[in-house]
C-alpha cells in the first residue's frame, strides 16, 4: 500500500469519527433523558447520572401524568393544536387557491400582505393581543390560543401551499368547469385533493410550531388548569423539578412524545418542509 492511500484512508477514518461525534452529541442528551425517566428516585442519589437505569420504574410517568397534571396540560395542548391546525389548513388552502388560480386586481398585494408576517418577532403582538383578549374576555380560554396560532400559522402555510398550487396545470380547472363544476366544487374536488402533498407538509410543520409554543400560552393563560404542555412543564419544573428528578424526566418525555412519534414516522417530509423556505427562498 502506498503512503498516499494510507493517508487518504486515515483522513476518511478521521471524517467518520467526527461524524459519529456530531451524531453522539445530538442524540445522547435525548437518550439520557429517556433512560432517566424510568429511574427510581433512589438511583439518582446512589448512582452517577450517566448510569443505566436498574429497572423500569414507570411510576414516574403516573406521577407526572396525574399529580403533576401533565394529563390536563396534554389535553389542553391537543385541543388548541388540533383546532388551530384545522383552521390553518382550511384558510391557507382557500386563500392560496384564490391567490394563485383566480383572477383579481389585488392578488399580488394580497400575497405580499400574507408573506409579510413570515419573520415577525412574536413579542411585538403580545401587548395588543393581550389587551384585545382581555377586553373580549378571552384570556384563559382555548380561543385566545387558537386565534393567535391560526394567525401566526398562516404566513408560512400560504407560502408553502401557494407555491405548490402554482405547479398545478390550469387545464385541470378548465376541464372541471366544462364538466359543469362550480368554483367551490373545483376547489374541493380538484384542487384540494391534488394539493395534498403540500397540505400534509403544512400540517406536520405547523404541528411542531403550535405544540411547541410557550410564549403565547404563558401570556394569555394564567390558570393552571388551562395551561398547555410547554407552560405546564415550566410550572411543573418550578413546583417539583428540583426534588423529583424521575418525574420531571417523565414529564419532559411526555412533552416530546408526540414530536418524537411524528418525526419518527415522517422525518423526510418534516426536513424537506422545514428547510423549504430557506432552500427555495
Amino acid at each position: 500500500m502506498s503512503a498516499k492511500t494510507v493517508g487518504s484512508r486515515l483522513t476518511s477514518m478521521l471524517f467518520k469519527v467526527f461524524v459519529l461525534l456530531f451524531l453522539a452529541v445530538e442524540v445522547y442528551p435525548i437518550l439520557w433523558m429517556l433512560l432517566s425517566s424510568v429511574k427510581a428516585t433512589r438511583e439518582f442519589t446512589v448512582n452517577p447520572s450517566y448510569a443505566l437505569p436498574e429497572g423500569l420504574y414507570l411510576k414516574n410517568y403516573v406521577d407526572a401524568w396525574t399529580t403533576g397534571r401533565m394529563g390536563v396540560f396534554f389535553k389542553n395542548s391537543l385541543i388548541t393544536t388540533v383546532l388551530s391546525l384545522v383552521l390553518i389548513v382550511l384558510l391557507s388552502t382557500s386563500v392560496s387557491f384564490a391567490l394563485v388560480k383566480m383572477r383579481w386586481a389585488l392578488r399580488k398585494a394580497a400575497l405580499s400582505f400574507f408573506m409579510s408576517g413570515i419573520m415577525v418577532p412574536v413579542t411585538i403582538v403580545l401587548i395588543p393581543l393581550f389587551t384585545m383578549y382581555k377586553a373580549l374576555h378571552l384570556l384563559n380560554t382555548y380561543w385566545s390560543l387558537i386565534i393567535t396560532y391560526t394567525g401566526f400559522g398562516l404566513a408560512l402555510s400560504v407560502y408553502l401551499i401557494s407555491s405548490y398550487m402554482r405547479s398545478l396545470p390550469d387545464e385541470l380547472i378548465e376541464a372541471a368547469v366544462i364538466d359543469g363544476c362550480t368554483i367551490y366544487s373545483v376547489f374541493w374536488k380538484v384542487v384540494v385533493p391534488l394539493s395534498m402533498n403540500a397540505i400534509v407538509t403544512v400540517i406536520v410543520i405547523q404541528f411542531f410550531f403550535r405544540w411547541n409554543d410557550m410564549i403565547f400560552s404563558m401570556t394569555f393563560i394564567s390558570r393552571t388548569a388551562m395551561k398547555t404542555v410547554q407552560t405546564g412543564l415550566l410550572y411543573f419544573a418550578d413546583e417539583w423539578g428540583s426534588k423529583n428528578w424521575g418525574a420531571i424526566f417523565a414529564a419532559i418525555a411526555i412533552g416530546v412524545m408526540p414530536t418524537l412519534a411524528l418525526y419518527g414516522a415522517l422525518n423526510k417530509l418534516v426536513i424537506d418542509g422545514m428547510t423549504a423556505g430557506a432552500v427555495k427562498g
Binding site: L23, V25, S36, Y50, V120, P128, F249, A251
Partner: protein
C-alpha cells in the same frame, strides 16, 4: 372561464376569513404596538402621549443597555456557532459518509423539532449540581476532572455559555441539512475537474465549495440572525434570565416591562426596536453581500 375565475363573491369567500384572522392576530397588533410605543404608562390608568421619548429613554436605561449588550454577545456567539458548525457538519457528511445518508440526516435534524421548554429542562438537568450531579458534572468526575465540577447555571459566565451551547445544539442540524443539500447540488463534474487540476482539501473548499455556497450562506445568516435577535423562550425556560440579569435578553426585558411593571408604552417601544433590528440586519446582509428575493 374568465368570468368563472373572476367571480367576486367566490374570491371573497376564499380570502376574507383568512384575511380577517391574519389582520386581527398579526397585522393590526404590529401597528398597534408601534402606536403604543408613543405613550407612557398603562392604557386607561396613566396613559400619556410622550412622542418618541420612550425611544430616547432606552439609551439611559441601565437594564435595557445590559440586556442589549448581552443580546449582541449572544447573537454573535450563537450565529457563529449555528451557521459555522452547521457548515462544518455538512462538509463532514459530504466527505465522511457514503452509506446511511438518510439516517444521518434524520438524526442530525432531530433536535430542531423538539420543544424549547423540554430542551431547556433537559439542559438544566444536564448542568445541574444539586441535589445530585447532572450528566455533565458526573462525566467530569468520570474523566478525573473533579476540579472542574461547578454550578454551571449558577454563575453568570457559565450560564451564558450553557444558554449559547443549548441554542447552537438545537439549531445546528437545521443549517447542516440546508448546507448539505446545497453541497449535493454542486455538479460533481466541477468538483472532479478541480480535483484533476490538483485542488484538494482546503483549496477545494476555498475556491470551489465556499463560493458555490455563498447564496445559501446569506440565507442561513438571515435566518440565524433574525432567530437569535428575538431570543426569549430558551433563555426564559433555561435560567429565567438569571443568575441576576446575566442571561436576560431584550425580549425578556420587554416582557417584564409590559407585564410585570405594567409599562405598556415602554414595553412596546422595545418590541418595535427588536422588529427594527431584524429588518435592518436582514436588509444589511442582503444589501451588503448580495440580493435575495423572498
Amino acid at each position: 372561464m374568465e368570468r368563472f375565475l373572476r367571480d367576486k363573491k367566490a374570491i371573497l369567500v376564499f380570502v376574507l376569513p383568512a384575511a380577517l384572522i391574519y389582520l386581527f392576530a398579526v397585522f393590526v397588533p404590529i401597528l398597534w404596538s408601534a402606536y403604543y410605543s408613543l405613550f407612557s404608562g398603562l392604557p386607561g390608568i396613566n396613559f400619556k402621549f410622550t412622542g418618541l421619548s420612550n425611544y430616547a429613554k432606552m439609551w439611559g436605561d441601565r437594564i435595557f443597555l445590559t440586556a442589549f449588550a448581552m443580546n449582541i454577545e449572544y447573537v454573535g456567539v450563537v450565529v457563529a456557532g449555528q451557521v459555522g458548525l452547521g457548515l462544518v457538519c455538512s462538509l463532514l457528511f459530504m466527505f465522511g459518509i457514503r452509506r446511511y445518508k438518510t439516517t444521518v440526516r434524520t438524526i442530525v435534524f432531530f433536535p430542531v423539532v423538539l420543544p424549547v421548554v423540554a430542551v431547556a429542562q433537559l439542559f438544566t438537568k444536564i448542568f445541574e449540581i444539586s441535589p445530585n450531579y447532572g450528566l455533565f458534572n458526573s462525566l467530569l468526575v468520570l474523566l478525573g476532572l473533579k476540579d472542574l465540577v461547578q454550578p454551571w447555571l449558577g454563575q453568570s459566565a457559565s450560564a451564558f455559555f450553557v444558554l449559547c451551547s443549548m441554542d447552537i445544539w438545537t439549531a445546528m442540524g437545521f443549517y447542516a441539512i440546508i448546507f448539505y443539500a446545497a453541497l449535493m447540488d454542486i455538479p460533481t463534474e466541477i468538483i472532479e475537474a478541480a480535483r484533476i487540476d490538483g485542488a484538494n482539501g482546503l483549496r477545494l473548499l476555498r475556491h470551489i465549495l465556499l463560493p458555490a455556497l455563498r447564496p445559501i450562506t446569506l440565507t442561513c445568516l438571515v435566518f440565524s440572525f433574525t432567530g437569535t435577535l428575538k431570543v426569549f423562550e430558551s433563555a426564559l425556560a433555561l435560567t429565567r434570565g438569571g443568575p441576576g440579569t446575566a442571561t436576560k435578553t431584550l425580549s425578556m426585558y420587554m416582557y417584564d416591562s409590559s407585564f410585570l411593571h405594567s409599562q405598556y408604552g415602554y414595553g412596546s417601544s422595545i418590541a418595535v426596536f427588536i422588529l427594527v433590528e431584524c429588518i435592518v440586519i436582514s436588509g444589511a446582509i442582503n444589501g451588503l453581500f448580495g440580493r435575495r428575493k423572498y
